[in-house]
Symmetry: C2
Subunit: 307 residues, 2 copies
C-alpha cells in the first residue's frame, strides 16, 4: 500500500527539510508530510539521531522506505562524504553513484554532488542543486533538448548551463553568504531594516549592474557613505546592499564568457520565492526574460526522479 512512498531529505548547511512523498506509477508526486530540522553546521545531536528524530515517526507508520539525502550532508563537513561527479553529466546518472549505508535497519542513500572544471585550474562544485536540476528536467519533456541557463539563488547562487539535458558547466556566486556577513557584521549596516524596500533594492542593483568596470571593490562602501549623507535611510540599507550584491552577480552572468545570455528565451529561476523575484526583477532591468519556478515542486520532482 505504501510501496510508492519515499523520504527525500534536503539537508543543507543551515536547514534540514524532510519530505514524505507518494510517487504514483505515472510519475506524479504527492507530498504527504514535511518535517524541518537543523542544518549540517548547526547540529546538537549526531547526524543519525537528528535524522531519526525527524523521520522516525514516518518509519513507524509506514515501515521501511527509501531514504534519500542531498546537500551538504554529503560533504566533508557532513555525515558521510559522497563523491563529486564531473561535468558534463546527465543528472539522471546521480542514481548510479549513491553513497548508501544501513542505519537502524534502514537504507540511507546520499546523492553525489557535481563538479566542473572551468579551465585554468578553476573548479566549481554543487551539492543539492543537482537534485533540483533533475526535477526541472522532469518538469517538461522539452527541457531535454536545447540550451538553457538555470539560476538557483540561495546562500550561493548557482548559474547552470544545460545543453540537451546535460549539465554542461556551472558557476557559483557567494551572493547570499556575502549579504549575511555584510549585513550583520560589517560597518555597512548599523541598524536592522524595518522591511524590504523594492525601489531602494533596484537602486542598489543598478549601481553594480550598469557598472562598466565591475564596481564591487570601490563602490561597496557607498552603502555606508550614502547613509552618512542622508541619501539612503538606514532602515533601507539592507535593501540597497541586497540589490548591490544581486546586481553584481547578474552583471557577472551577463558578461560570462561561458554562455551568451541573450541566446536564451528565458532564464529559469529556482529558489525561495522572494529571492527568486528579486533576481527576476534585476534581470528584467536588462530586458532579460525569466521564469520563476516553484522550488518545492521542483525539489519533489527531483526526489521522485531518483527511483
Amino acid at each position: 500500500m505504501f510501496k510508492n512512498y519515499i523520504i527525500g531529505v534536503d539537508w543543507g548547511t543551515t536547514h534540514l527539510r524532510a519530505y514524505l512523498c507518494d510517487i504514483s506509477t505515472s510519475g506524479d508526486t504527492h507530498l504527504i508530510a514535511v518535517e524541518k530540522g537543523l542544518g549540517v553546521s548547526k547540529q546538537l545531536l549526531s547526524f543519525e539521531d537528528s535524522l531519526f528524530d525527524c523521520i522516525g515517526p514516518w518509519l513507524k507508520l509506514y515501515g521501511k522506505l527509501p531514504i534519500y539525502l542531498c546537500g551538504q550532508i554529503g560533504s566533508s563537513i557532513g555525515w558521510h562524504e559522497a563523491p563529486y561527479l564531473p561535468c558534463p553529466i546527465n543528472p539522471h546518472k546521480i542514481k548510479n553513484d549513491f553513497l548508501s549505508f544501513i542505519v537502524r535497519g534502514h537504507k540511507v542513500s546520499i546523492i553525489p554532488g557535481i563538479s566542473c572544471c572551468l579551465g585554468d585550474e578553476d573548479f566549481d562544485v554543487m551539492r543539492g542543486e543537482e537534485l533540483q536540476i533533475l526535477g526541472w528536467l522532469k518538469l517538461n519533456p522539452t527541457h531535454q533538448k536545447g540550451h538553457y541557463l538555470l539560476c538557483l539563488p540561495g546562500t550561493h547562487t548557482k548559474w547552470v548551463l544545460i545543453v540537451d539535458g546535460e549539465i554542461k558547466l556551472f558557476k557559483t556566486a557567494m551572493t547570499g553568504e556575502l549579504f549575511d556577513l555584510l549585513s550583520n557584521q560589517s560597518i555597512l549596516i548599523q541598524k536592522d531594516e524595518s522591511s524590504f524596500n523594492f525601489d531602494v533594492f533596484l537602486n542598489g542593483a543598478t549601481k553594480t549592474l550598469n557598472s562598466e568596470l565591475g564596481a564591487f571593490s570601490h563602490s561597496l562602501f557607498s552603502v555606508r557613505s550614502k547613509q552618512l549623507f542622508s541619501k539612503l535611510n538606514e532602515n533601507n540599507a539592507a535593501s540597497y546592499l541586497s540589490g548591490f550584491l544581486i546586481g553584481s552577480d547578474i552583471r557577472a552572468a551577463i558578461n560570462a564568457s561561458q554562455w551568451n545570455i541573450q541566446s536564451f528565451q528565458s532564464i529559469e529561476i529556482i529558489g525561495a520565492p522572494h529571492l527568486s523575484d528579486c533576481f527576476a526583477q534585476v534581470l528584467s532591468l536588462k530586458n532579460i526574460k525569466s521564469r520563476v519556478h516553484n522550488v518545492e515542486k521542483i525539489t519533489l520532482l527531483g526526489f521522485s526522479g531518483l527511483r
Copy 2:
C-alpha cells in the same frame, strides 16, 4: 622646557595609539613615548577614562599639553562627533575646524574628517587618513605641487588624488574588512593559515587583477573550490584570498575614471609595512611603480603639522 611637547592620538575602530612628541622649532618631530589602547568599538571604560588611563602619566610629568585626537573617535560611534570637511581641501585647513573641549582641565581637540562627492549621489568619507596626508605633504616640499595618487591600505583602503597640495577626491575600498569577514567567518577558509605564502598571494592577485570583467562575484568561491581539488593548500587559502581581494582593489584603481594611474611617477603607499609591501608587489605586476612610506613617521609629521 616642554613647551614643544604635544600628544597625538590615532584612535580608530580597533586600535588606539597615543604618541608623545617633541616638535622642535625647525619642525622636526621626535617621538618621546608611545602608548597603546583599545579602539572605539572595543571600549570597556568611558572614552574619557580610556584616554586618561593611557596619557595620564605623561600629563602628570609634563603638565598641560596640546592633545589631538584623530580617527573614528570623532565619528557617530565615537566620543564627540566632529564634522566632515568637503573636498577639494588643503589638509592644513583641518586646523581651523577642531572640535575642542575641556576634560579634567585639559583641552582636547578632535580633528575633523574629510568628505568628497563623486557625483551621482555618491559620497565618500575618511577619518584619520587626513592626518597622514598632512604628514605626507610635510615630508617633502615637492609634494605641494603636481598630481599624486596616495594609497592608504588598512581596514579600508583609501585612494586619494592630491593636486597641488589639495585633496581633490578619494575612494574607499573595504578590502581589509572583507578579508577579516571572509577569512574568519565564511565557508572559504576552514583552517588558519600557518604563515603568509607570497607566491600564492600573487596567484590570488593575478586572478582578479587580470580579469577583464571584474571577476569578484563569480570567482570568489574559487578560494574554496581550489582547496577541494587540491589546487590550493588549505594552509595557504588566506594568502590566496588576500591576493584576490588586493588584486580586485588595485584593478579598480587602475580602471578608475577619476584619474589615469599611468600618469603618476609612482603611487605613494602609506600603511602597515607588510600590507604596504603587498600592495606594492601587486602594483608592480602591472609595471606601476610605488613608494612605501614609514607610516609612523608620516603620522608623527601629521600631528606636528597641527600646531
